[in-house]
Symmetry: C2
Subunit: 303 residues, 2 copies
């Protein structure tokens, strides 16, 4: 049984596409290797991975390819929560069978206004169907996009029923009071990740486990540096520097901006492709992003 | 090439489950046969079908089973719009290959605030990938749940580019002004269905094609009767009677209430099962529903 628990900085890894918009496993593997070299873990199939624009089969194949390419399964926390219970079971089981140390699980997000009982049943059904004590679930709280908040009561009930399986949460509410409320639950061995490095210092002070953040795709080393040295002099300045870079990316649609930066700094235009319903940056946005990053002295070392 | 175009009353057919929550193809086939006998078409895999709680494989298998059981493909308008472009292509192609006369297509609904261009690209990619002139798409507009409105501009552009493929819309906005705006586009051979029989008379007066409504699962004959005789004396009274029955169902969570009524009137408790994140009616709700329907003189003839 894997005893690995996640902490630190994870990237919801952006997903590259071939010209026909099929997923590009080789480029994804290279980007994952680079992220690991920079200190980051791999929350593949997150929101910023366009995970919900990929089929279950595509995600399963990519996961197999990453592991075949030598990516350490202790670094892998794939997103496996889908709208359909059957899909969530299939993909979660696949992740566990392949040895992934954890999974990040969205609630089902089509039906709105569902009850805590319905969400509990959903997670419980996945856990009982996978039936493997190597399954470690990090709940994924992102109500601005999923439109499905996870209540404190629900989280407490899940963690009480499955203490060795429900081991943490990623909070992408964008509201520090919400993240604090997850800390205040004081669930034992429960890792609280913030969903943006803007809250990283605050989260570490509160006893959090780190962050899982979009911009860790492009700025992993600097984010990891704050994670590692948060309790030392200069941490506020490091936080401020991270915020400045994040603000540049946030002034564009985030996913195409992350891909554009990867294309620019890796000199590889193939990274610019996104799957509909997303669209790439316009030429003007692309040029403005490049300029802003250059002015800020931004780098992606060893990319 | 199938020249069939849909009109009339369609049910977003509720999906029965076995005790292990796998889909029950035989019960679904029986319910579809009954609906057809009552005058309804079959919008299987709609919102009220818990479509987004089913995997692509489950939906493909159910579709095959229905056709093997003798369901007329001219009655079938399966929902095939998924979050993932690849899933939408797979399922739409399957529906066309099996001979379904139309498909009802949700926009991708995970990513919010996406552009008209991104949604256009999504539908265009599906149409180009399926590449079959037998494909007839009815757009599915249900912003209260999908959170993705389809703009008038987007619809005009799609219909202009693909006039033989984009052949109609189901409007479940719940706002008659919105449905009227779709009529006002005056797109040639474009069928406007309202998403609730509450608007059926209004929609027929406006030149609409009919309705695709949750309660057509349980009250198809009466809804069909108004559709067929909307231009005759007594139609307002018929509309009012339909509204009374709908209001009973709307006073409960709709999907479990439809299933409970089917269980009650068909004397078949298996129909009460729902998949998480939905939950069934409580015992008290179940009893209240039964009582209200009885008092209203509601029947499901020949079920």
């Amino acid at each position: 049984m894997s005893q690995h628990r996640f902490s630190g900085v994870l990237a919801p890894v952006i997903t590259p596409y071939n010209a026909d918009l099929s997923p590009d496993a080789a480029r994804l593997g290279n980007h994952c290797s680079w992220l690991v070299s920079q200190g980051a873990g791999l929350a593949v199939f997150g929101t910023n991975s366009e995970a919900n624009s990929l089929s279950i089969d595509e995600k399963s194949s990519l996961l197999e390819a990453l592991i075949e390419a030598g990516i350490d399964t202790d670094k892998l926390m794939p997103g496996t929560g889908c709208c359909a219970l059957s899909d969530s079971i299939t993909l979660t089981k696949k992740a566990v069978d392949l040895g992934c140390a954890g999974v990040l699980m969205l609630p089902p997000f089509y039906y709105k206004g569902v009850s805590d009982q319905g969400l509990f049943d959903f997670y419980a059904n996945v856990i009982e169907a996978v039936a493997d004590d190597k399954l470690h679930i990090y709940l994924y709280h992102i109500p601005p996009i999923s439109q499905i908040p996870l209540s404190l009561n629900l989280i407490e009930q899940l963690a009480a029923k499955y203490p060795d399986t429900i081991v943490g949460i990623k909070d992408s509410s964008g509201d520090w009071n919400q993240t604090q409320a997850f800390h205040d639950l004081q669930i034992e061995n429960f890792a609280v990740f913030c969903g943006s490095e803007s809250f990283l210092l605050q989260n570490m002070v509160a006893g959090g486990a780190g962050c899982i953040s979009a911009t860790a795709n492009v700025n992993p080393h600097a984010i990891f540096d704050l994670y590692y040295h948060w309790n030392e002099a200069g941490s506020a300045k490091k936080q401020s520097a991270l915020n400045s870079i994040r603000e540049i990316f946030q002034s564009f649609p985030m996913i195409p901006a992350l891909k554009a930066a990867t294309a620019i700094y890796g000199d590889d235009a193939a990274w610019m492709r996104v799957r509909p319903p997303l669209t790439g940056l316009t030429d003007k946005q692309h040029a403005t992003l490049a300029l802003k990053l250059k002015k800020a002295g931004f780098e992606m070392p060893d990319l």
